[in-house]
Structure formats: C-alpha cells, structure tokens
C-alpha cells in the first residue's frame, strides 16, 4: 500500500509540469486571445510525448501505463488550463483501439486526428448508442475530425462530418470554442458499452483530475498573493479571514488529490468500488475547483475580478468542467446508490 506517486510516476508528473510551464504558461492567455489553446502542431507535439496514449496498454498501441499515470498528467493539464478535448483524444484512442480500429486509434494517438468533446443540454438529453440522435454542445469542434460522445451507458466516437452544426455559441470560458451540433440517427464510427470498457468512468476521473488542477492552481495563487499583498501595513495573509480561507482551500485539495489517487486505482482493480469512488471523486472535485476558484477571486480583491489576472479563467473553466461527464447531481445520485465497499 502506497498512496503516493512512485519515483517513475513523479517523473512523469515533473516532466509534464515543466513542459507545460514553459510551453503553455497560463499567463499567455492574458495577452493573446489564444484560441485554440492547442494548435495542430502543438497537439502533435504532446502526442509525440505519448500523452494521448499514456494510459493505454501497449498491446493496444499505447504507452502502457495505467489510469493513475493518466490522472497525474491530467491534473497538470488542468492546472495549465489545457483544453478538455484532450480527455476526448485519450478516450477516443481507447475506444477505437478496443474496437479494433487500429489505424484510427493510431492517428488519434499521434495527434494527426483531432477530437472534440461534448456535453448535452440537460433539458433534452440525446441518445448515445451505435447511432446517435439529439443535440450536443461541443467544445472545440473547430478543426476537429471526430467527436467523443459519452454517457453512463456507453461511449461513441463519431466523425464530425457526419453531424450537422446547428449554431455557433459563446462559451463563458473565452479560451474555448463552443458550438451546437445535431445527430439524427447518425451512425457512429465506433461504440463501446459501459460493460465492455469503463470509458465514461475513466473520463470522469480525468475531468476530476483537471478540476483538481484548478483547485490547486487557485490555492497556490491565493497563498502567493496573500503573502505579497499588503494592506494596513501587513501581508493580507496574516489576517485570519484570508488565512482560514486558504486553509479550507488546501483541505479541499488534499481531499481531492487523495481521492483521485484512490479512485484511479480502485476503478482499475476493484470494479465493485469503482462507481462509488469515481462519483465521490467528481462530486468532491467539482466542489473543490469551484469553491477554490471563487474564493480566490475574493482573496485577490478587485484585481481578482478583472481579466488582468488569470483567476477568472479558472472560475470559468471550473464551470465548464462540471458540465462534462456528469453533473454534481448525477454523481451524488451514484454515490448514494452504490453499495458499501467490502
């Protein structure tokens, strides 16, 4: 039993963190209206580092690590506000590989093909099966070839050209492109049921990891600011109200990181505890990311409310990520109906 990253895992994490810090500083989002966050070349570069296939078995063409390593990587991706479509790519490669579409899987794994990710309008849920019907709110359809559609019943990979664009929308998160698309009994390129592979749950873990990245990034920025910013002749971090906000933020981080590690293992090894742990994780991660980001605005004062600091981007991304792979409400229901683990 060891619920901390191994040396090898720590190395994956450090490499990712260094690379992202150099190539994709969040700061860059303030000066250029950088969209997409990840152009085609950059996607290929990440893919070249094995990031799309990191958790895919080598027998399926992946790097051969597991969900834990994927989760560690995606927490870093979340911290640097990298696009959630990367979760789409990871799941799409897995879906194609599991289904034996080796060429397709390969083209996704090497970043040649781009995959968007979608959520559904709560008021009119779509059907996801070997065919798909209904409307989808799609993040980053721009330049994408495929789209990953999932719900707790299964996961479908669909060629974007097989769907119809309904409208261009405006996303709260200014770094993300949002459009509405429609399928009408549209045949999917491949479809995997939840029983065949836990694509939806794996996606839930990865989105939760990105939420953790937000929770930790906003804590770190808040602590730094509270140490540096002075009012009434003292750093504001010496005032209990600010100090206690930070303490609560750090507990939320600890809580989600521990749960992320735990669920990334149980989902692979103890299928019976998987849904309880995965849904617990997402519910806690949503809460941590949103509470921490919202609190960070308050700690940063007026500046936190502006677009001159990057805090607002985390606030907005935390909202986007809640809507992917099941709302808090959905996951709380799952937590409640799960059997007690042994």
């Amino acid at each position: 039993m060891d619920l901390l990253p191994t040396e090898e895992q720590q190395q994956i994490l450090d490499t990712a963190s260094n690379y992202l810090g150099n190539e994709f500083p969040v700061q860059a989002l303030l000066t250029t209206a950088q969209r997409p966050r990840l152009n085609h070349d950059q996607l290929k570069q990440l893919a070249g580092m094995g990031w799309i296939g990191i958790g895919l078995p080598d027998t399926l063409g992946g790097v051969g690590y597991g969900l834990s390593e994927e989760a560690l990587l995606f927490a870093e991706l979340g911290r640097y506000l990298m696009p959630p479509s990367l979760v789409g790519s990871v799941l799409a490669a897995r879906t194609a590989a599991v289904r034996g579409h080796d060429d397709l899987a390969h083209a996704i794994l090497d970043g040649t093909l781009r995959v968007a990710i979608a959520t559904q309008q709560s008021s009119a849920p779509a059907t996801i099966s070997p065919t798909v019907t209904g409307n989808f709110l799609v993040f980053e359809a721009e330049g994408a070839d495929y789209i990953m559609l999932t719900d707790d019943g299964g996961a479908a990979l669909v060629a974007l050209s097989d769907l119809q664009q309904v409208s261009q929308e405006r996303c709260m998160d200014p770094t993300l492109d949002l459009t509405c698309w429609r399928g009408d009994n549209t045949t999917t390129t491949c479809f995997v049921t939840a029983d065949q592979d836990a694509i939806f749950l794996r996606g839930t873990v990865l989105i939760s990891a990105m939420l953790l990245g937000i929770a930790e990034a906003t804590l770190q920025r808040s602590v730094d600011y509270a140490q540096a910013r002075e009012q009434f002749g003292k750093p504001i971090g010496s005032f209990q109200s600010i100090k206690h906000y930070c303490a609560e933020m750090s507990i939320r981080c600890e809580c989600v990181r521990a749960m992320l590690y735990y669920a990334s293992i149980t989902l692979q090894q103890q299928p019976s505890a998987g849904p309880l742990d995965t849904s617990s994780l997402k519910a806690l991660a949503i809460d941590a990311a949103q509470e921490n980001a919202n609190t960070a605005v308050q700690i940063h004062g007026g500046m936190g409310y502006t677009q001159e600091m990057d805090i607002h981007l985390f606030v907005k991304r935390a909202q986007v990520l809640e809507s992917l792979f099941g709302s808090e409400r959905f996951h709380l229901r799952q937590v409640l109906s799960a059997a007690a683990p042994p």
Binding site: S122, R170, M172, L178, Q298, T306
Partner: protein
C-alpha cells in the same frame, strides 16, 4: 409598528406608478458604453422634466425634497416598474451630489448640482489606488499647492465609467506629513483635464466600465476642494451617511425580482432526469430558503429606514444590508447554475442571463467594501469588539 401609509402617501404612490408607466423607456439600456451614457442622460432629462429628479435633494438645488416615506414609495414603485437602473448616473446622484450638498460652499453648489439633475453630466469616483484598497486611507496620490492650483500626481483604480464621465470626485493627499487620515482632501476634477490618462480594465463578466486613471502633474484649482483642505477623510466618510436605508431599496427589489425570475425558471426547466428543476427537493429547498431571505431583506430595509427616521442617523443596517444582500445575490446566482445545468457555461442562448449574473455577482462582494471589511465593521462598530 405598522406598515400603513397615509391616504396622501397612497395617492403619491399612484402618481409615481402612473408617471413611470407612461414615461419609462420601452427599450432596454444599450450594451455599448457611449450609447449607454446617452441613454442614461436622456432618461435623467425625462425624470427632471417630470419632476422626479433628485428625490432626496433639497428643492433649492433642483431636487424634490421628498420626505423619507415619499422616497421609499418612489423607490419601491420605481424598482417594481423595472425602470432603468442608475448606471452612469449613480455617482452624481448618490455620492458626489449629496457630498457637495452636505459639505460644499454655495459657489460649488450652484455650479455643480443642477447639471447633475438636469441630465447634463456624468460623475465618477477616484478613491481607491492600486496600493490602497481595503486600506483606503493609505492612498498616495499627492497634490502640491502651487498658487491657486494643486498639482496632482499619482493614480486611481476601479473608477467606474471614467471614459464617459465629465467630472470626478477625487481623494488626494495634500499633507504627506500628517497622520494618514488627516492629510487627505476631497476634490472636484474635470475628466478632460490635461495630464490624465485613462485605461479601461476588462472585468471578468466582460464589462469595460472599470478603469485605472493616471495623473501626471494635473492642475486642479484649489477652490475645487470641498469641505476644506486636509478634511477629505471626514468628507468622504459623510458619504456613508447618505446610505440611509432607502439607498438599499432598489437592490432589495432587484434581488426579489431575480429571485422570482429564478423560481419561474425552475418551474420551466427540465433536469437531466426529465423532472422539472422545482421537483428536485434540493433545488426547491434552496430556492425557498433564498426566497425567505429575500423577503426578509425587504423587512430589514424597512426596519433600517424606520431606524433612520427615528434617530436621523444611519445605523448598523448599512453594513448589514450591504453584506447580506451581496452574499445572497451571489448565492442566488450560483443556485441558478444548478438549475440551468449544462447550460451553465453558455453565454449565448435563452438561459444566458444566469451565467452572466453569476460572473457579475463577484463584483458585489468586493466593490464598496469587501465582505471581510464589512464583517470587521459590524464586529467593531456595531458589536463593539476590539480592533
């Protein structure tokens, strides 16, 4: 203890209601700032002509001199009619104007007050600085007396609609050697004064109404000091006393309107599981709790007005209402995101007013004193806890 209005007051209420019904703008306020300015001034002109400008201002300066109850009735009806908010008119009508009425000399009153009511000018504020936020009294923008002028150098931040304002109420340090509260003056400044540079700040909700303003040896006549040199802290504190209970009536009714709109939304919006949002007890109880709180916000506002009316002094209700309302407003906006579900991050389309409200709500718990500063004030001034 009563909620009764006299027959005259009820007749007054009808007069307000009828006039507003007939005269309030039919179109909504333009999003563009320059058009917004024009809209605000036009509406102020209409109010002035109708005899409704400056409801709490003395008649000698063009105001209506209404008593507290008339003000209350006017504000209730105004907010209920969903007539336009103060927007750019806010500062002149509620802060700069009343300060000049209270502390200005006759010359200042004659010069600056009527244009505000007539809808000729927009005022803005220059109080906070990058290094002086919650600790306002540590402001550093200095004014050096040079004959009949002061020469002002420094910078101000969070100045709303600076680009579209004509005048500014400005706090400057006229005595750098005095203790920090003692060397400040409250000054009237023209926004087209040479040496100023105005930089808009984009806020997280997408607005560009906030600004940073830089002063590089800007000349302001000494006669533009209001309330005496080095007396600016007291003058600016006097502004607090304008925040009588009635000042909270509009935001109280705005909160109620939002709450009822949200209730309506919950009765129409379906969740992932096909039920109406209102059928989810978790949503329903939260809605009910906030509806109860919003209802009490009305009661608190009325109790505050009653207290002011009795004592003539602003009581603790100012800080309490500010804190309670701004936090409640934020919670309402967060609840709305639970209801709109996956629409939470879409700023286009039918439900987009709710995520927009959410983004805007962050301003409320920061601007005009952070919630943390409000809690300090309540603890220290109202409850008598030690600093």
């Amino acid at each position: 203890m009563n909620l009764d209005f006299t027959e005259e007051q009820e007749q007054f209420r009808e007069r307000v209601r009828d006039w507003l019904e007939e005269n309030k703008p039919q179109e909504s306020r333009p999003e563009d700032s320059a058009e917004g300015r024009a809209f605000d001034l036009a509406w102020q002109k209409t109010l002035y002509k109708g005899g409704w400008a400056g409801i709490n201002w003395p008649q000698e300066y063009g105001g209506q001199g209404f008593d507290t109850f008339q003000q209350l009735i006017f504000l209730m009806e105004y907010a209920k009619s969903r007539a336009p908010g103060d927007h750019y008119r806010f500062n002149g009508l509620n802060l700069a104007g009343p300060t000049i009425i209270a502390c200005g000399d006759e010359q200042q009153k004659q010069t600056y007050l009527p244009p505000i009511l007539k809808g000729d000018v927009i005022w803005c504020q220059g109080f906070s600085e990058p290094g002086a936020g919650s600790d306002l009294a540590s402001l550093k923008t200095r004014a050096v007396i040079d004959g009949d002028d002061m020469i002002v150098t420094g910078s101000k931040i969070w100045t709303s609609w600076a680009r579209f304002a004509d005048w500014q109420q400005l706090l400057v340090r006229t005595d750098p050697d005095a203790p920090k509260h003692k060397g400040i003056s409250w000054v009237i400044n023209r926004m087209d004064n040479p040496g100023m540079e105005i930089r808009p700040i984009h806020d997280m909700a997408g607005g560009t109404d906030l600004h940073e303003v830089f002063y590089d040896e800007v000349r302001i006549p000494v006669k533009n000091i209001v309330g005496g040199i080095n007396n600016g802290w007291k003058v600016s504190m006097a502004q607090l006393s304008f925040e009588r209970g009635t000042a909270f009536m509009p935001s109280q009714i705005e909160t109620w309107n939002r709450m009822e709109d949200l209730l309506h939304l919950a009765n129409q919006t379906r969740l992932e599981d096909g039920r109406l949002a209102i059928e989810d007890d978790h949503i329903a109880y939260q809605l009910a709790k906030m509806r109860a709180e919003t209802r009490s916000l009305l009661a608190m506002t009325l109790m505050g007005i009653s207290r002011n009316e009795r004592t003539g002094m602003p009581g603790p209700e100012g800080s309490m209402l500010k804190l309670f309302q701004s936090e409640l407003y934020k919670r309402i906006s967060i609840l709305s995101l639970q209801i709109v579900g996956a629409e939470r991050s879409r700023l286009s389309g039918m439900a987009s007013e709710w995520p927009k409200m959410f983004l805007g709500s962050f301003a409320n718990t920061l601007g005009g004193g952070t919630s943390e500063v409000m809690r300090n004030i309540i603890g220290e001034r109202h409850l008598g806890l030690p600093k």
